[in-house]
C-alpha cells in the first residue's frame, strides 16, 4: 500500500483528525474561517488532538469548538463563565493545552470580570474572542464592542463607546495580546500557532464579521470595512525550532524582529511601514489608543511578555498530573491525624 506522506503531518495524522462536526453557523460567518485556521494551525504544528482541551461560553462563537478537533475534550460552558471553568480544569493535567473560544458579548459584557481575572492570573490558555460587535444567537442586539453610532436594523443607533478587548487585556497584565481579522487567514493561523506555544494567557481578539446582523459596508466589524482598512503591524510567522533556518531565506536581515518564546520557539515579525516593538507595554497601549481615536483596524501581535510564570507554575504541582494521583498520594498518614487530634483543643 502506498502511503501519501504529503497528507500527514509530523505525527502521522491527517487534517481530518483535526476536524470537527459540520458547522451549523451561517454560511460566510467569520467564525467558520477561524475554526478552519485552528484546524490548520494544529495540523501544521503536529499537536496531538487529545492534548488540547477546548472551552467556550455561550453564543454563536461558543458553538464553534464543536466544529474543530473532534478528538479533543471540550466543554461548552455558561454565558460569560468560560474563564473560571478553564482555570479549574487546567490544574488537572498541565501537560495539556487549553484553547477557549468566546465572543464579544460573552467576554466583554457578561464575562468581563472572569475574563480580566483569568488574564491577571496568567492562566495558561489560548483565549480567542470572535468579535463581531453584535449578539447573533439572539438576533442582532448591540454588544459591548459595537462602535458608537452603529446602526442596526431593529436596534437603532448605538449611543455608547465600545470596549477594546486588547486594551482591557493589557491593562489587566496580559502576557500575550493580539488582534486579527477573520478575513486574514494567514495571520490568524500564525497567531494561533504562536498563542498555542505561549506559556501563559494568550488573548486573540479576532474581528469576525457577522454576515447576518452586522456586515454593512461601513460597519467596523464587517468584511468590507476590514478588508479595506486592516493595517497589519508586521508580517508574523511562528517559527518552531525545526524551521529556524528558514527565516534567513524568507526575510532580509534587518527587517525582521525575532521574539523568543519559552522552550526555544520564536515569533518572527517582519517590519512593514512603521517600527513596532510588541514587548513595550506603553507603546502597545499608545498604539491602541491611537487606533481607537482614528477607527483603524490595526492587527498583529500587540503585546508579548514571555518570562512571567503562568498560574499553574506558581502552585508547584506534582510532575504526575493531579488527576492521575492515587489514594497513596492523596490521603495523609494515620499518624498525621493522630498528631492533629492530639493538638486539637
Amino acid at each position: 500500500m502506498v502511503i501519501n506522506l504529503s497528507n500527514t503531518n509530523q505525527i502521522g495524522l491527517t487534517k481530518n483528525d483535526y476536524k470537527g462536526l459540520p458547522s451549523s453557523l451561517c454560511q460566510g460567518c467569520g467564525h467558520n474561517s477561524i475554526a478552519n485556521q485552528i484546524i490548520t494551525a494544529c495540523y501544521e504544528l503536529g499537536v496531538v488532538p487529545e492534548e488540547i482541551m477546548k472551552f467556550s461560553g455561550i453564543g454563536c462563537s461558543s458553538k464553534s469548538p464543536a466544529y474543530f478537533l473532534n478528538r479533543a475534550f471540550g466543554f461548552n460552558s455558561l454565558h460569560g463563565r468560560m474563564a473560571p471553568l478553564a482555570t479549574g480544569a487546567i490544574f488537572a493535567d498541565t501537560s495539556l493545552k487549553a484553547l477557549g473560544v468566546s465572543g464579544d458579548g460573552d467576554t466583554a459584557s457578561i464575562g468581563m470580570s472572569g475574563f480580566k481575572h483569568m488574564v491577571r492570573r496568567n492562566t495558561p490558555m489560548v483565549y480567542i474572542v470572535e468579535n463581531n460587535g453584535v449578539y447573533g444567537l439572539t438576533k442582532g442586539q448591540f454588544s459591548a464592542t459595537a462602535e458608537v453610532g452603529l446602526n442596526l436594523k431593529h436596534q437603532g443607533t448605538n449611543p455608547y463607546m465600545p470596549v477594546d478587548i486588547c486594551m482591557e487585556a493589557i491593562i489587566s497584565n496580559a502576557t500575550f495580546v493580539a488582534r486579527s481579522f477573520a478575513g486574514d487567514a494567514k495571520q490568524v493561523k500564525e497567531l494561533i500557532k504562536a498563542a498555542l506555544n505561549h506559556n501563559g494567557v494568550a488573548v486573540l481578539d479576532i474581528i469576525s464579521p457577522c454576515v447576518t446582523f452586522n456586515n454593512q459596508v461601513n460597519a467596523f466589524h464587517s468584511y468590507t470595512w476590514g478588508k479595506d482598512h486592516e493595517a497589519p503591524l508586521h508580517e508574523i510567522s511562528f517559527v518552531p525550532r525545526l524551521d529556524e533556518i528558514m527565516i534567513e531565506d524568507d526575510f532580509l536581515p534587518g527587517t525582521v524582529t525575532e521574539v523568543c518564546m519559552h522552550d526555544g520557539y520564536m515569533i518572527a515579525l517582519k517590519k512593514l511601514e512603521k517600527d513596532y516593538d510588541p514587548t513595550d507595554r506603553w507603546q502597545a497601549l499608545h498604539m491602541l489608543e491611537e487606533s481607537q481615536q482614528n477607527n483603524w483596524l490595526v492587527t498583529g501581535l500587540i503585546y508579548i511578555e514571555c518570562d512571567r510564570p503562568p498560574l499553574t507554575e506558581r502552585h508547584n504541582l506534582t510532575s504526575t498530573p493531579l488527576n492521575r494521583l492515587t489514594d497513596k498520594e492523596l490521603r495523609p498518614t494515620h499518624e498525621s491525624l493522630d498528631q492533629i487530634n492530639a493538638n486539637m483543643y
Binding site: F75, A83, P84, L85, F91, D93, S113, G114, E329, N341
Partner: protein, 597 residues
C-alpha cells in the same frame, strides 16, 4: 458560703466585650482550661458584623452531664463593655455573679447577685507590655479573677495559652503573668459570695475541641481533596483558610510538590466555575461559601447537575434572606439548595450535626460527588462552623477513596461502544473519561444543552426525556448510598422528634427534660437528602412527629410533607428564626405546649 449551697460544674458564663478588643484569646483560654480539667464545656461567640467597636458576647456553658447546647440564661456575667453594661447587669440570674471592669462607673442597683469589681486598668499599668498590646492583655485580668473565684487550675490556663500561641514564649509569658496578677489580686481583695465553682472531672477523655469549619477542611484533606476555589464570606471563610493552613503540611509529595491547589476566586460565580472545571477534569473538587455566595453559585450548580460534573459545595449557613444577619446562625438554605437550579433539579444534600460529622462528611461528600457525578451540597451553619465544640477525636477514614466510574486508556481498549451518558449498569450513573486520557475515543464535548448518550447536541424530545428519566434514576440510586439517619426508638413512644444539623445538642437535652416531665420522645436525625427509607418508617411508627429546625418557615417540614403527603397530618413544625441556635428549654416548652393542645 455554706457547703450545701455550692453549685459545681453546672452554669453558664457570659463575657461582654467590645468587638475587636482581643477578648477571643481570653475567652477560648477559659474554655480550653475547663476542658483540660475534664469538665464538659461549650463556647459560643455572639458577634456583630463589624471589625471593631460594637458589643460582642461570648458564652461558655459548663455542664457536668455533658449538655452542650446554648442556654438562654447565664449565672455569671463578666462586663468589659460600657455600652452594654446595664443590659448585662440586668441579665444575670438571681443568685448569680457579676464581674466588671471597675473603670465603668455605672451604679449597680442589684442586691440579689454577687458583684466583683476588677481593677483592670490599675493592674495593666504595672506590666512591661508595649502600650499597643495592653488592651489585649487586659482581658487576661478577668481570666485570672475568674480562675481564682471559680477555682480554675492556673496550670491548665498555662497549657491553653501554650496551645494558643503555638509555644511562642514571649506572648505566653506576658499573658500568663497578667492571669496570675488578676488571680493574686482577687485572692487578696475579693471575698467569694456566689455558689458557683468548678472541680476537675474525667469527662473529656477521648474528646477534642474543634470548630466545624476546621473539621470540614481536615475531613476534605483526608478525603483526598485536590482543588478548592473560594471567595471570602462570613461564616465560611475559615473553612478555606483552614485548607490553606493544613494542606501545605499534609499534602506535599516526597519532593515537596503539591498534590492540591487552592485558588481564591474573584467572586462566587467564578469560585464554583473553577470547581466545576476541576471536577470535570478529574480532581476531587470543592468550594465553600454561605447564603449570598450560594445564590451566585446557582447558575453553575445547575450546569454541574445537568452535565453531571462532580463537585462539593459547603454552605456554612447564616441568616437570610439577602445579606440578612451575616454573623448569626440559621438553617434557612435547605429548600433553596434542594431545588437549586432552574428547570427540574433535585440535589443531594448532606447535613452534618456534629463537628465530628463535619470531618467525616468532608470526605464522604467527595466520594459521593465522584460516585454520583453530581454536585453534593453540605449544609453546615455558623454555630457548627465557627464555634468551638467538644467532639470525638477525628477517626481515620476506613474505606479507600471512591473515585467513581472513570475509564482510562486501558479501559477504553476493552470497550467498543462507550457513550458518556449511557446507563450501562442500570443505576443511572454513566461512565466518564478525563482530560489527559490519550485514547482516540476518550474525548467528548460537555455541555449544558440537550445531549444524547454520546454527549452530542440534541433537541430530540425522546432523547431529552430519556436523559431526564435517567437523572431521576440516578437520584434514586443516591437515596440508597447517602448517610443514613440516626434513629433512637428506645422510648417506644407515640411521639417522635425529627431534626438535623446543629440542632442535635439542644434536641438531645430537650428529650431528657421532656422524659422527666412525662413526655418521652423517640428521635430521628436526618443526615442527608434524598430521604432514606428510615424516615418513612419512623413517621409510620409515630402518631405525632415534631420537626425541629432553625429557620422561619419550617423548611424540613415542607420537604417531608412533600415526600410523605399522606402522613402530613402527623407533622408539627417547631422552628426558631431569631439568629440564635436552639436551647433545650425552648424546644421543650414548644413541644410541651403543642402536646397540651
Amino acid at each position: 458560703m455554706s457547703e450545701q449551697k455550692k453549685i459545681i460544674n453546672d452554669f453558664s458564663i457570659t463575657i461582654a466585650t467590645v468587638n475587636g478588643s482581643g477578648s477571643q484569646t481570653a475567652n477560648t483560654t477559659i474554655l480550653r482550661a475547663l476542658f483540660k480539667m475534664g469538665i464538659p464545656v461549650s463556647g459560643k461567640n455572639l458577634f456583630p458584623s463589624n471589625i471593631q467597636g460594637l458589643p460582642t458576647w461570648y458564652t461558655i456553658r459548663v455542664n457536668k452531664d455533658g449538655f452542650t447546647a446554648r442556654r438562654d440564661e447565664h449565672e455569671i456575667v463578666i462586663s468589659m463593655n460600657q455600652a452594654s453594661f446595664m443590659e448585662d447587669l440586668a441579665s444575670v440570674l438571681p443568685g448569680g455573679a457579676f464581674y466588671y471592669a471597675d473603670h465603668i462607673t455605672f451604679p449597680i442597683n442589684r442586691t440579689d447577685i454577687s458583684v466583683y469589681p476588677m481593677p483592670i486598668k490599675e493592674l495593666i499599668k504595672n506590666t512591661d507590655v508595649s502600650p499597643t498590646l495592653r488592651d489585649y492583655i487586659a482581658n487576661m485580668v478577668y481570666v485570672g479573677v475568674l480562675a481564682n473565684i471559680l477555682g480554675i487550675d492556673i496550670e491548665k490556663i498555662q497549657s491553653a495559652l501554650d496551645f494558643h500561641f503555638k509555644g511562642k514564649p514571649k506572648p505566653i509569658e506576658s499573658n500568663i503573668n497578667m492571669v496570675k496578677a488578676g488571680a493574686e489580686w482577687s485572692a487578696a481583695n475579693l471575698k467569694k459570695t456566689d455558689p458557683y465553682l468548678v472541680e476537675p472531672m474525667d469527662k473529656t477523655k477521648g474528646l477534642i475541641m474543634a470548630d466545624g469549619n476546621t473539621a470540614a477542611a481536615l475531613g476534605a484533606i483526608y478525603g483526598g481533596l485536590q482543588f478548592e476555589a473560594w471567595y471570602p464570606i462570613t461564616p465560611a471563610s475559615s473553612l478555606a483558610e483552614s485548607l490553606n493552613e493544613y494542606l501545605p503540611k499534609l499534602r506535599k509529595d516526597p519532593e515537596g510538590k503539591s498534590t492540591y491547589a487552592v485558588v481564591q476566586a474573584e467572586d462566587e460565580l467564578s469560585a464554583i466555575g473553577m470547581a466545576v472545571g476541576a471536577g470535570w477534569a478529574g480532581l476531587r473538587s470543592m468550594t465553600s461559601t454561605s447564603g449570598p455566595g450560594l445564590s451566585l453559585m446557582t447558575e453553575y450548580a445547575g450546569m454541574a447537575y445537568f452535565a453531571e460534573v462532580p463537585i462539593v459545595v459547603w454552605d456554612v449557613q447564616r441568616m437570610g434572606p439577602s445579606t440578612g444577619l451575616p454573623t448569626r446562625t440559621s438553617q434557612g438554605d435547605l429548600t433553596f439548595t434542594y431545588f437549586m437550579g432552574h428547570g427540574d433539579t433535585q440535589n443531594v444534600i448532606l447535613l452534618p450535626g456534629t463537628v465530628n460529622e463535619c470531618f467525616e462528611f468532608g470526605s464522604t461528600a467527595l466520594d459521593l460527588a465522584e460516585r454520583l457525578q453530581t454536585p453534593i451540597f453540605v449544609l453546615s451553619d455558623l454555630d457548627l462552623g465557627m464555634n468551638q465544640w467538644m467532639t470525638n477525636a477525628f477517626r481515620y477514614p476506613d474505606k479507600p477513596l471512591d473515585r467513581g466510574k472513570v475509564l482510562w486508556e486501558e479501559d477504553l481498549e476493552k470497550i467498543t461502544d462507550w457513550g458518556r451518558y449511557r446507563d450501562v449498569d442500570g443505576d443511572g450513573i454513566p461512565y466518564r473519561t478525563l482530560p489527559g486520557n490519550r485514547h482516540p475515543r476518550a474525548g467528548y464535548f460537555s455541555r449544558g444543552t440537550g445531549h444524547n448518550e454520546y454527549a452530542v447536541y440534541s433537541e430530540n424530545s425522546k432523547v431529552w426525556e430519556s436523559n431526564m428519566n435517567r437523572l431521576r434514576l440516578k437520584y434514586k440510586t443516591a437515596r440508597t448510598i447517602v448517610p443514613k439517619p440516626i434513629v433512637d426508638n428506645s422510648e417506644n413512644s407515640e411521639v417522635g422528634i425529627i431534626t438535623y444539623g446543629s440542632n442535635e445538642p439542644a434536641v438531645y437535652e430537650a428529650r431528657t427534660i421532656l422524659k422527666n416531665e412525662g413526655i418521652p420522645c423517640d428521635y430521628l436525625r436526618i443526615r442527608a437528602l434524598p430521604f432514606a427509607e428510615e424516615v418513612n418508617e419512623f413517621v409510620q411508627a409515630h402518631k405525632r412527629v415534631y420537626i425541629v429546625e432553625t429557620n422561619h418557615d419550617g423548611q424540613m417540614n415542607q420537604l417531608i410533607t412533600m415526600e410523605l403527603p399522606d402522613k402530613a397530618t402527623k407533622f408539627r413544625s417547631v422552628c426558631l428564626d431569631n439568629g440564635f441556635s436552639l436551647s433545650a428549654r425552648w424546644v421543650k416548652e414548644k413541644i410541651c405546649a403543642m402536646e397540651a393542645n
